[in-house]
Symmetry: C2
Subunit: 116 residues, 2 copies
């Protein structure tokens, strides 16, 4: 048995971003375009674009900067605030995942040695 | 901003139980019948019963014991293994929620003082 943790970040009870959105930012940074980042997550371009725009609106800052056309086609990169947000989130998320694993083992094995 | 954490517990990649199922056990214990426990969570009796049976099958142990009829109608109570499982889960889940809150603040406020 092991715990699976999912996280969303809320503002006034509304989800602003979470694991899924951060994976999208990561994929865009890695693949170099919004389109390829979306594909990597099995999202349509339109859906990925919508998620980015909703996050940008909620956070009040630009997260993805795109250049259109050129010899190699368009490209997208994360803005500096998006890079910082992603780095902070990854730090938080990694620590949380590790803690969940450790704490789960501690709580379920301490007294009985068995789950139930 | 604040993190919202959801947990499921997996065995071989399959969810065995999680926040929702533990809330159901808690509601059954509090209300005294499966039917009232289900209602408290906005579930149908059939759906709640199915969740309990699926958990019992996956864990290989009885979780809810019911008595039928009598002057006050039937009642349900958690078995001893279910009480232990719920107590362990609540301990784990409370610690995880507190850690998430603390770690979120630490990761997002340490260097910039702002989210992005």
């Amino acid at each position: 048995m092991q715990p699976e943790v999912k996280v969303r970040v809320l503002e006034d009870q509304r989800a602003v971003y979470g694991d899924h959105e951060m994976r999208l930012l990561e994929a865009i940074a890695r693949r170099g375009t919004l389109s390829d980042g979306a594909t990597a997550l099995g999202l349509s371009y339109r859906s990925a674009w919508g998620k980015i725009k909703a996050m940008e609106a909620a956070l009040g800052t630009r997260l993805v900067a795109s250049t259109v056309g050129g010899s190699g086609g368009g490209s997208s990169r994360l803005t500096e605030p998006a890079q910082r947000l992603l780095a902070q989130y990854v730090r938080f998320r990694t620590a949380l995942g590790e803690y969940a694993q450790q704490e789960f083992e501690r709580c379920f094995n301490d007294d009985t040695g068995e789950l139930v």
